[in-house]
């Protein structure tokens, strides 16, 4: 039963990735990434039941608080300050992005059968959700035209490492787990502060305003 639930939550994570790819508004993207944060908490809780670890319950609560509530809250605050079009406006269109997302997810299942790390995961669905999330996170970063979508892409990419870490984290000392989560939070918070500064200096969140050093 728990294994089934684990598989369903893993599948929901993959679906949330596809939702992020198809979202045209920054506000929807933030809601999507918050939902993914809550799914990660649920995954931790299910894993805690799987291995009877209080350690993972604590991690689940932290994950929901940080990834599901705090980070989306700061991102929403940032978006409210943006006067220009609040469209995600990616380099690649939404339909093609969705198609690429589906290909990445299928590839994740395929590679898991072939690669030597299949036993590192609790189940195939769990492993595939980690790989698919990593691929889609990177895709979101690369195809972004604005810094907020880049932050969300980074957050999704980082979520993949969380899913991956969960299966191997059982014996990790708690302070290390806490450190990893706090580092993520601090990292994203610093990105949000930097994005605010970009907005103040350039009056825009477009990455085009950040191409002067490349010239």
């Amino acid at each position: 039963m728990k294994s089934d639930l684990l598989a369903w939550v893993s599948l929901l994570i993959i679906v949330s990735n596809l939702y992020l790819l198809s979202s045209s508004r920054l506000a929807s993207l933030i809601k999507g990434v918050a939902f993914q944060g809550i799914l990660l908490g649920a995954l931790s809780l299910l894993m805690a039941g799987h291995s009877a670890s209080y350690h993972l319950i604590f991690l689940a609560i932290l994950s929901i608080a940080v990834k599901g509530i705090l980070i989306p809250f700061y991102l929403s605050k940032l978006v409210r300050g943006v006067k220009e079009l609040r469209d995600a406006n990616p380099v690649i269109g939404y339909s093609l992005s969705m198609f690429i997302g589906v290909v990445i997810s299928c590839f994740a299942f395929y590679i898991l059968q072939k690669a030597p790390f299949v036993h590192a995961f609790v189940s195939v669905f769990h492993g595939a959700s980690a790989i698919s999330t990593a691929g889609i996170g990177l895709f979101l970063i690369i195809t972004s035209r604005n810094v907020i979508r880049q932050i969300i892409g980074f957050l999704v990419f980082e979520n993949a490492s969380f899913i991956f870490g969960l299966s191997i984290a059982l014996y990790q000392p708690l302070f290390v787990e806490m450190g990893i989560l706090l580092d993520t939070f601090a990292g994203v918070l610093i990105m949000v502060i930097a994005a605010k500064r970009i907005l103040t200096v350039h009056q825009s969140i477009s990455v085009r305003s950040l191409e002067r050093l490349s010239k």
Partner: protein, 495 residues
């Protein structure tokens, strides 16, 4: 708690005290003195480590969470030295800005707090025996140092953004590598030992080789991004050129080394897991080789003096990686190169920053005859760049010579040819720029415009003499110290 653990606690107490004192103060001059005091105390702490541990010993601290061996000790001493001299330089660098009111108390406060925290987390990277803690510390260096890059300059925000995004993504790759390492070691008896480098090194034959190789590739990509290895180095020229000079100096002088240090910890474990077939070394060698070639191609087309020095860092990190990839004498050369590069690059950044401030531009075509107008920094720039180019006799020349010798005697003639070609290309391009900046045609009748501080002169002369000395003779204690560190990179940190 033993004596070494007490020293570690004292070092971090100094950092905490120094940082806390900055929150209260509002005077910029006093705020900039705090890092000098704390880095002096930490420098003495590093010396205490050397005396207490004796270089040939490996000591586990706090239940195995931290480790001190000759490899970490070498890097700790280097970090402490670079931070100490840079903190002293910083007081002079910002003095003029304080005088004319360009430096606000808020900036000095931010700088002093982040500066000390940055050194504290860098030291934690070097002390970590737990692979998770090492990852956390290195990620923390990105978070802490990002706001050291931002100044009033508009372009600095762009450089900060690239640094944050690229290094953070790279560090997540390193996290995948870290977790895969644990997965590869799952068959081991101790479930907690799989997180410790010392345990993994001692039981490397029980590690799944295929998984470990994959983990190592991710570790090289991840930590290599932070180390500035090509092709993941793209953040480096922007961050180094836009950051204030003291920050560029420590980025290039020690932060890149610390990231490479993480790869040095994984290298012996991977090699042992793969039965010493050389695959892991080849990966590092390839990255090093690419870095050297990238730098050789990009240095000639630079116009900004700090960008040129940034690409020069890519070249030297590449040379260190080539040494690590070769093994044996190559690793010895790599460690010697680490010391030589750090000292000379810090001097090069000090002088480039001071010259650029004096001339009001970083464009090399607009800076001429610096040795006449600002003799201390003009001549230091010339001499430190000569060292960086590998001119004899200097520590950098010695390590490059040892590396070429190892390539020749191991029969890697093609790599040797490209190595010589790359270093020669860098040599000629840098020589042209350096001659122009230090001795180029300019109005000499204006006379000396700035002589520099005495303390800066002492720092410059000491570092240059040390670089010259290491190019002529490596004393037996230092040679043995380096050989111990080499054996740790070859066999791992075992007790």
């Amino acid at each position: 708690m033993n004596l070494i653990e007490i020293t570690v606690v004292l070092i971090y107490a100094f950092f905490a005290g120094g940082t806390a004192s900055c929150f209260r103060s509002k005077n910029p001059a006093k705020l900039l003195l705090v890092p000098v005091i704390s880095s002096s105390a930490v420098f003495l702490g590093g010396i205490a480590f050397l005396i207490e541990t004796r270089p040939e010993n490996t000591v586990l601290l706090f239940g195995g969470t931290l480790i001190i061996d000759s490899l970490s000790l070498l890097h700790i001493l280097l970090v402490n030295t670079i931070f100490l001299i840079t903190s002293i330089y910083t007081t002079g660098y910002f003095r003029e800005k304080i005088k004319c009111g360009a430096l606000k108390a808020s900036y000095a406060k931010r700088f002093s707090i982040l500066w000390q925290t940055f050194q504290a987390v860098l030291l934690l990277v070097l002390l970590s025996n737990n692979i998770g803690l090492m990852w956390i510390s290195l990620e923390a260096t990105t978070i802490v140092s990002a706001f050291l890059i931002i100044s009033d300059a508009e372009l600095s925000i762009e450089a900060t953004w690239k640094y944050l995004l690229i290094c953070s993504v790279g560090i997540v790759f390193a996290f995948f590598g870290t977790m895969l390492t644990v997965a590869a070691a799952r068959g081991m008896q101790s479930s907690e030992g799989v997180y410790l480098f010392s345990y993994l090194s001692a039981n490397a034959d029980e590690i799944d080789p295929r998984l470990m190789l994959l983990a190592f590739i991710l570790v090289v990509v991840g930590f290599g991004t932070k180390a500035g290895l090509s092709p993941m180095h793209t953040w480096l020229p922007d961050a180094h050129s836009q950051a204030p000079t003291p920050v560029s100096a420590v980025f290039s002088g020690v932060m890149l080394n610390c990231a490479l240090f993480c790869i040095m910890r994984y290298l012996p474990i991977t090699e042992a897991a793969l039965d010493f077939d050389g695959q892991a070394r080849s990966i590092v060698l390839l990255c090093g080789f690419m870095s050297l070639i990238f730098a050789a191609v990009f240095i000639p087309i630079q116009s900004d003096v700090k960008r040129m020095l940034a690409y020069c860092s890519v070249e030297h990190i590449g040379i260190i990686a080539i040494g690590l990839g070769l093994g044996g004498l190559g690793i010895f050369a790599a460690l010697l190169h680490t010391v030589g590069h750090s000292l000379s690059k810090v001097l090069a950044f000090f002088s480039a920053g001071s010259i650029a401030d004096h001339f009001g531009t970083r464009e090399m075509k607009d800076i001429q005859c610096a040795s006449h107008k600002v003799p201390l920094w003009g001549n230091t720039f010339f001499l430190s760049c000569l060292v960086l180019m590998g001119v004899a006799p200097s520590a950098v020349f010695m390590s490059e010579f040892l590396l070429a010798k190892e390539l020749f005697f191991t029969g890697k003639y093609i790599i040797l040819a490209f190595f010589l070609l790359g270093t020669l290309a860098v040599f000629f391009s840098m020589l042209r720029y350096t001659m122009l900046i230090s001795f180029g045609k300019g109005p000499k009748e204006q006379g000396v415009e700035s002589r520099g501080r005495r303390v800066d002169t002492v720092i410059v002369i000491t570092c240059l003499l040390l670089l010259l000395f290491l190019g002529l003779w490596i004393p037996a204690p230092l040679s043995n110290f380096l050989k111990d560190a080499v054996s740790i990179i070859e066999k791992g940190a075992t007790l």
